[in-house]
């Protein structure tokens, strides 16, 4: 898809969790970046648990791996009505 300039959203890159403030209202999308220390076993449950503390994960990806730390970027849902 064609590229345009991001209209907002410059984020820290220091490994700390970064959250964008959610607008007031029943439903909001929140952008989240965080790093988690991986434990033995499947990665998805660990990722879901880490993101679940911020909302319902809608879309996420591991965007970097530093040793045993996974860096995640995600958009989570807050206040979503049941489907």
């Amino acid at each position: 898809m064609r590229s345009t300039k991001p209209s907002s959203g410059r984020f820290r890159n220091d490994g700390a969790a970064v959250k964008q403030p959610a607008p007031p209202g029943a439903l909001a999308l929140r952008w989240v970046a965080l790093c988690l220390r991986r434990r033995p076993g499947p990665l998805r449950p660990q990722i879901s648990a880490a993101l679940g503390a911020h909302g319902e994960p809608l879309r996420w990806a591991v965007t970097a791996v530093r040793g045993d730390h996974l860096c995640l970027e995600a958009v989570v849902l807050i206040g979503l009505p049941p489907p």
Binding site: P6, T63, P83
Partner: protein, 358 residues
């Protein structure tokens, strides 16, 4: 599903600058060769959408990213269909000339391609798309009024639509450096992340096939345009590929744990049937790939440079028991898929060939 096919997932993550698949549907040739090799390819709109360019193939199932993730995780099955009744959802933030362009494309697809478009609705308020970029450089985005998107989708579903095409007004930056780089074949597409969020949100809410096209004003003619970006400069909208893709997108069938599915006769693609997953070697950290690997599906990691370095080695996938096959190109990946389909051990096609120990 014919017993001799090997249902294969093809994932090319959106908004991470993949050399193949980071532009205007430029992973379509890879999808076509993998579809021929597997007999059944399940892939997502980022692979198949080339604005005015598209390819329809009964061996390719067009599945939006949220649904693809859920399919890979075992939460959904897919039922191929002859056609879907499309609903067209237009952002109220679109100018009248852009709105008219979308409607004319939809009419053109009805008249010239025979597509069934059941209804058109506008959101109650502008959706207010904003674009963002993460620390990795990957593109993301959000909506100011996600609830308006969901309500408009519900109206289309209630009007009989079985699949939904969304057109949202995106911010313009015709003189920007990012756009210039993209047209010259470099950089990351900052629109893609927001597009994925829109279609994920609607798919998750409605459990219907959904896909998105941005609304933007046409650009001035440019010489030296990268061929991979050219598909988006042939027309005045990005909608044709979305309507064509959705017109035969499979139904999404929820699967309940520990229950026997009862969806009647007819071919259904179940998650258990997935025989391989193909993804860029440096972008293996998405849900569809990780879910597939955790379910024991062989992973074909293709050399397709992008801005991420999330490799099988970095994720220690093989240490966790995953089967990882490396391919230097999508042509080689197709050969590996064909080998799996034929029941060949892929190692037998490579040299040196080690003897059995013991």
């Amino acid at each position: 599903m014919a017993p001799d096919v090997l249902p294969t997932l093809l994932v090319v993550p959106t908004g991470v600058g993949c050399a193949i698949g980071g532009y205007a549907g430029d992973a379509m040739p890879a999808a076509r060769v993998l579809a021929a090799a597997s007999g059944c390819l399940i892939t997502h709109p980022n692979v198949m959408n080339g604005a005015a360019l598209y390819w329809s193939d009964s061996r390719i199932q067009y599945v939006e990213g949220w649904a693809l993730d859920r399919f890979a995780a075992g939460d959904l099955a897919l039922r191929p269909v002859r056609r879907q009744r499309l609903g067209l959802l237009l952002d109220a933030g679109m100018e009248e000339d852009l709105r008219l362009r979308q409607l004319q494309v939809a009419d053109g697809c009805r008249a010239s391609l025979g597509l069934d478009i059941a209804a058109v609705v506008s959101s109650e308020v502008p959706l207010e798309v904003c674009l963002e970029q993460g620390p990795s450089g990957a593109s993301w985005g959000r909506l100011g009024h996600p609830d308006a998107l969901l309500r408009a989708g519900e109206r289309l579903r209630d009007a009989g639509a079985t699949a939904i095409a969304v057109v949202a007004r995106f911010p313009e930056d015709p003189a920007g450096e990012a756009l210039a780089a993209y047209r010259q074949g470099s950089g990351v597409d900052p629109l893609a992340g927001a597009e994925a969020v829109i279609s994920h949100l609607l798919s998750r809410h409605l459990r219907l096939p959904c896909a998105h096209a941005p609304a933007l004003q046409p650009l001035p003619l440019q010489r030296g345009l990268d061929p991979r970006a050219a598909g988006e400069e042939l027309g005045t909208t990005f909608l044709p590929c979305v309507l064509v893709g959705l017109s035969r997108a499979p139904d999404l069938l929820p699967l309940q744990p520990d229950s026997t599915p009862s969806w009647g006769d007819g071919a259904v693609l179940c998650p258990e049937s997935i025989g391989a997953v193909v993804a860029p070697a440096g972008a293996l950290g998405g849900e569809a790939v990780l879910a597939s690997v955790e379910r024991g599906v062989p992973l074909i990691a293709v050399d397709n440079p992008c801005l991420l370095q999330v490799t099988a080695e970095a994720l220690a996938l093989e240490q966790d028991g995953a089967v990882v096959l490396n391919a230097s190109s999508y042509a080689e990946a197709a050969g590996l898929v064909l080998a799996l389909r034929e029941g060949l051990a892929p190692a037998s096609l490579r040299r040196p060939f080690a003897g059995l120990a013991g």
